[in-house]
Amino acid sequence: MSEALLQAEDLRVHFFTAAGVARAVDGVDLSVGARETLGLVGESGSGKTMTSLALLRLVPPPGRIVGGKIRFEGQDLLARRRRAMQAIRGKRIGMVFQNPAHSLDPLMTIGAQLVEVLRWHERLTRTAAETRAADLLALVGIGDARVRMRQYPHELSGGMKQRVCIARALLCNPVLVLADEPTTNLDVTIQAQILDLLHDLKDRLRTSMILVTHDMGVLARMADRITVMYAGRICETADARTIFRTPQHPYTRALLESVPRADRDYGPTGRRLPAIRGRPPDLVHPPSGCRFHPRCPEAGEDCRALLPLEFPIAPGHTVSCLRRGSPGVPT
């Protein structure tokens, strides 16, 4: 991988709540290369959504980015002015959301919402913007684009709304698309269609993508590289094949174990689908040492005391686990 398109270093997002400071993202490093799909995976509350929002500098209050660096196309995003960020959002970085039903304004027509973006970012005339919007709707597989543009979001099905959202994210030819669980709220059959669409468009438009999900199946289909997050920290980063074939971190292994497989019998005669025991940690009072040690089958005394750092065990494969040779720092 040559020069990364986007690179985050030691990114930290803290939430200043009444109960204390929740370290939602606690020192995350990640990078996406040109035309690459990075999968960001973890359970609910692992900080994957906050990481993606932090990349756009849109962490909702009471959260704040308290540390780290984000380099995007050679610029430091955290040092840019607010206005300059507005010019990046939607233009250089497009975003697709989890819930298509709620991410479109119910009182505006589809066309108006697409044209709006183009007029902010591209200074197009109305007719030119409308043509471009119609082209993109056609590209994401919406027939009768001109008719659809005059409709309101509630007149469209969930899958179609997500297609509109994808079109909106791609309107200005972004170099990077952030997709935050783009298929979680859709029917399984529609999910496959939307994933195929994203995959196909990413190739055709030569964009990079960060795909945030908790679904390993989605990643198997989409991702070039995968970063596994747990409790605001990164467990393991490697190319997709390595993650699925030879996962190293106990959490990655447990995550893969808990995905049902077609070649195994989980029925009354077979074994139970293994689940990861325990609950995700409280981010205000995270466990000492390795965040995962209370649930880890391999945990030892040292895991309780030392926080493992990311350690390259092979080219392009980093793991943070004391059992795999990571250095640890006392907490």
């Binding site: 209050p61 990046i88 959002r89 939607g90 959301f97 119910p106 709006e116 409709q151 007149e155 994210a169």
Partner: protein, 311 residues
């Protein structure tokens, strides 16, 4: 979900489903009290617009006095009778409609402007600005508004004497409208704040932010239009309230002597209630029906736009 439902064939025109406003209108159409309210308000508006055509006499025509026809009961010449000053009651009541409407609409324009700006700012900005603005709003809520308005109307009427302002037509009425607006905004501000708070965190607003929308576009294109349905309900309610308030001010003799207002008609005529009850009953009924109309309309609108809050 019925599994018998077929997907529509491609060639067929895509069916349009009604939007939020049209859905609201449909629900309002089915709402009996809302429609009664709309009819009453509609009547008020029509009367106000067509008053020179509808009124049989000039509002200042006291000629009945000369014919010894003051305090006459309803008859062929005067359908609602005449009052103690020889005015035709029907004409006076009809000419009261534009005054009432001007007061209601004017006061609510002022109030919704102040209320939406302050409430919206409060809800959108949050933090210390929200805290300060809401305490300010509460301060306005606890003021005994009525007494303050009476004092200010009288005071302003005295100050103005001898200045060029004195010649402004309906200055007194204008003062009342302004004051009702200036003191009527807190409920609107509170609702606007709540709506802005809710919509600020709505996913589509979040989404707009993520695609590079500027704060101005977010507020005016996304938040405000979505807050309007709820705001309209309090504005409709407030309009009725403003009409009633102006009637009370005028009834106490603080109204505009040059404007024909229902409250003032009551003030002039309640002394002859036993001799000429029609002269009091007619404007009283007009106030009652107008305020009732706005309240029923507000009720209907609230059911139409927030169908889930009831039942």
């Amino acid at each position: 979900m019925p599994d018998t439902q077929l997907t529509a064939p491609r060639a067929v025109a895509i069916p349009r489903r009604p939007g939020l406003w049209r859905q609201g209108w449909r629900r309002l159409r089915r709402n009996r009290s809302g429609m009664v309210g709309l009819t009453l308000v509609g009547l008020l508006v029509i009367t106000a617009l067509l008053c020179p055509v509808l009124a049989p006499y000039d509002p200042n025509d006291q000629s009945a006095m000369i014919d010894y026809a003051a305090n006459a009961p309803p008859n062929r010449a005067h359908v609602m009778g005449t009052d103690r000053m020889g005015y035709d009651v029907a004409s006076r009541v009809i000419y009261g409609a534009p005054t009432a409407l001007a007061v209601g609409v004017g006061a609510m324009l002022v109030a919704s402007l102040i209320g939406t700006i302050l409430g919206g700012l409060s809800g959108y900005a949050g933090g210390i600005a929200d805290e300060l603005l809401m305490r300010f709003t509460e301060f306005f809520l606890v003021i005994p508004v009525f007494i303050v308005i009476l004092a200010m109307v009288r005071l302003f009427g005295i100050i103005v004497v001898g200045t060029p302002l004195e010649n402004v037509p309906y200055l007194n009425l204008g003062t009342i409208i302004m004051l009702l607006g200036i003191f009527g905004w807190p409920p609107i501000a509170r609702l606007a704040r709540a709506e802005f708070l809710r919509l600020k965190q709505a996913e589509f607003v979040e989404a707009a932010r993520c695609i590079g929308a500027r704060p101005r576009a977010i507020v005016f294109r996304h938040i405000l239009p979505n807050a309007l349905p709820s705001l309209i309900v309090v504005v409709a309610l407030g309009t009725g309230g403003a009409i009633l308030a102006e009637a009370m001010i005028s009834f106490l003799g603080f109204g505009d002597p040059k404007a024909v207002s229902w409250g003032q008609l009551l003030y002039f005529n309640y002394g002859t209630l036993r001799v000429a009850p029609w002269a009091s009953i007619a404007p009283g009924l007009a106030i009652f029906l107008s305020v009732l109309g706005f309240n029923l309309l507000a009720d209907g609108l609230s059911d139409a736009f927030n169908p889930r809050t009831r039942r």
